[in-house]
Point group: C2
Chain length 489, copies 2
Amino acid sequence: MLNRVNSILQQNCFLSSGKTLLVGVSGGPDSMCLLDVLVQLGYPLVVAHLNHGLRPESQSDAEFVEQIAKRAGLPVVIGKEDVSSYACIHSLSIEEAARNLRYRFLFQQAELVQAQAVVVAHNADDQVETVLMHFLRGAGMAGLRGMQYLTLPSPWCDHIPLVRPLLEIWREEILAYLKDRKINSIHDQTNLDTSIFRNRLRHELIPYLADFNPGIRRVIWRMAQVLSADYDVIEANLDAAWEECLVEQGQGYVSFRAPALFIQPEGIKRHLMRRGISWLLPGLRDIDSSTVERALGFIEHSTRSRRLDLAAGMYLLREADLLWLASWQADLPVSDWPQLAADDGCSEGLFLPAPGSVCLVDDWQIHAESLVLDETIEKPALGNPDPFQIWIDAAQLHMPLTVRCRQPGDRFKPLGMAGKTMKVSDFMINMKIPARARANWPLVFSADTLVWIPGMRMAHACQISNSTQQVVHLRMLRNTPEPDYSSRQ
Amino acid sequence: MLNRVNSILQQNCFLSSGKTLLVGVSGGPDSMCLLDVLVQLGYPLVVAHLNHGLRPESQSDAEFVEQIAKRAGLPVVIGKEDVSSYACIHSLSIEEAARNLRYRFLFQQAELVQAQAVVVAHNADDQVETVLMHFLRGAGMAGLRGMQYLTLPSPWCDHIPLVRPLLEIWREEILAYLKDRKINSIHDQTNLDTSIFRNRLRHELIPYLADFNPGIRRVIWRMAQVLSADYDVIEANLDAAWEECLVEQGQGYVSFRAPALFIQPEGIKRHLMRRGISWLLPGLRDIDSSTVERALGFIEHSTRSRRLDLAAGMYLLREADLLWLASWQADLPVSDWPQLAADDGCSEGLFLPAPGSVCLVDDWQIHAESLVLDETIEKPALGNPDPFQIWIDAAQLHMPLTVRCRQPGDRFKPLGMAGKTMKVSDFMINMKIPARARANWPLVFSADTLVWIPGMRMAHACQISNSTQQVVHLRMLRNTPEPDYSSRQ
């Protein structure tokens, strides 16, 4: 037993023998065995026990653990929490609430004593029950692979690992060890209560399944091991895909490059959504699989600029080549688009003399310059192929130009559409300007005529003709470098 | 129903609507439904039924299917096999034997009519039972993902796909469809026989599991879908790793570049072994997981030149940087090593005059040349750093030299070992010459003294000294280029 556990501690949990471990001890057989093994292996230990206050014996259990630790000369810390009211407040089952509070407590203590890891005593039977539980509830690989020898980050801590060195030791072996070493432990009567789902698995389902395959526990345990290694492969693919598809990750949102996301294999798309969702809702233990499937359906079939409400206030938003996964509370960043400050743009707008410029939000600017049309201007530029700068016929303009946001009823005759008049809002939709960027998009007017939608298209009437002598050169630019998506994670 | 099945046929099974399908019809509800749906969808069909001869009604079932097909104006072919004796001969369960014979028959017929696919009627409930069966028997992802809409290659055919368009239709839906369309079907009484494992799952285990989760069937079905997509990701990784690690794949053997194999993630190593094993034993349906784990353990811990017997006559053999997975019947290729033809090398051996040469197997040769030691021979070469050519002192030699295989008792004083005498067999082991290459490895003798083990080391006594005037230059070379592992797949 000592050798097996020590090999797991060193090879699978990567622990060093000289550094403190915080060991969670309920006083039950598993944790009493774990404690004894760790003491024998000579690890520096701090014993921690959380009194859940759920059973009449809770207090005496805590005292039992305290006594054991003191007798062994180990530092011990006993915590107490009101599990029932925590469960009530967070609408959790009692088991789930106890689990959350217990791990929170263990990691708080681990932090205090600068432990290298929190060690808990889940055994091979617990592993089988966990896998079965996930199986019955419909988990993917992440669930079917069961618990891991080492978990980092865990939902409770991102820098201290949670380790489970007894995962390959069966309950029988633990009991035999305790008997052999004459170690007492607490027998928790609630373990027999089959109204608790896990206990029903232990006492009813697993014996029933053994009728179909007497080796069922080993079979399921082995399956978890195999799937765990497979999951590592998937996870490596996921990491690469995440890097490839991610544009930005912020408080309450993640955005992906939609074209990069679409070409991922279905399995990877699903894992990307799961990882995104757990970024938004880190406390969430199980993501409802139907939510994930709805997200996947949206990705497969979404045309541009659509939105899908998911669950728990999350939604997916497709904007041109971006796919946002966000919480309703989150302010999605708009800094990549040219925007007039809300105060500046509406109603009258800002004057744009030539030469002169107008400042927009986030270092965007519009510049105007007046030029005599001569050979120094390269001919191709006069066809205005660049949506960020145009040369237009000054004779058609009322100077100074003004820059303002769109107003209801604004219309526009875009270049290249044979003089057709369109609503500005329709044109913006056609140009895939995201809805939330449209209201403050800067528009350049000459009196009441829309001359240019910067970044998009100029007006048909402002084209340079053979008789043009004077031109106005308009440019929209940003002082910071263009965003480089690849380095923005 | 029609739309759902048609969408599966086109989008998941990639079938074209104008080309013949061979549809397997037992006459039971599932296949009667499938047949009707395919007829309505207008696919050209050939109906096939195999009479397993297992039940008293077998003959009348066959007649029922024949009648139905004829009435619908469809070509029909009825086959008959003796399942019981096939099961006996191949030591298979009756179900397994029936399955093998049925698919063999269906694909034979599909070949004859040049069908684009064999279509079978497995439904969503069958899928759930299949997944549960794999779960109970301890399968990996390949089993837990269940049956696929499209399987190609299958164990029965490498160019005609096996398709299952009803995989998402539940048994209730099929029965309702038949009732609605007033279609009769055969009710196979053996479906109620719970001594058959699958029937026990259907009639006992699944209802029992529904106590734990009423949606258990959908949960398991969905799990299979999700794992199937994950498996595709793993499989893409496996394909890449297979290409990276494979050296050679022949009748009864596969060889891997051991260093490339060792650095694969554990999950990929396991799948590489599984793929290798199914290359050796293509008929094998389930590879025993303990066999795979033993193989994995060997890979993790094998030092050079070791062998592990696996199961079913398979073994793993580590030879220097090669790892062989082979059947005992297979002759592993030896063409990369210099070898004397069995007839040539033993007893007397072959004369090697200088100048002169000796031919070995597979274009290897040994050449000898006599030279006066002068400035044209570069000094560094006289230190004999190249194991494939040496310059030795002619005065120490009895000419002509002879080339033969080792014989019991052969001993050798290798250069650089201070005149120490070793058994030739020990020296070969130290030099990592694979066991099966040792017996016919060419050795160059001067009378009874071993002068050179070509490719390895010359004898200490033959070194050139300051007084050397005449040298013999020995070379071993191959007329074909050195094997390039990367292009030998």
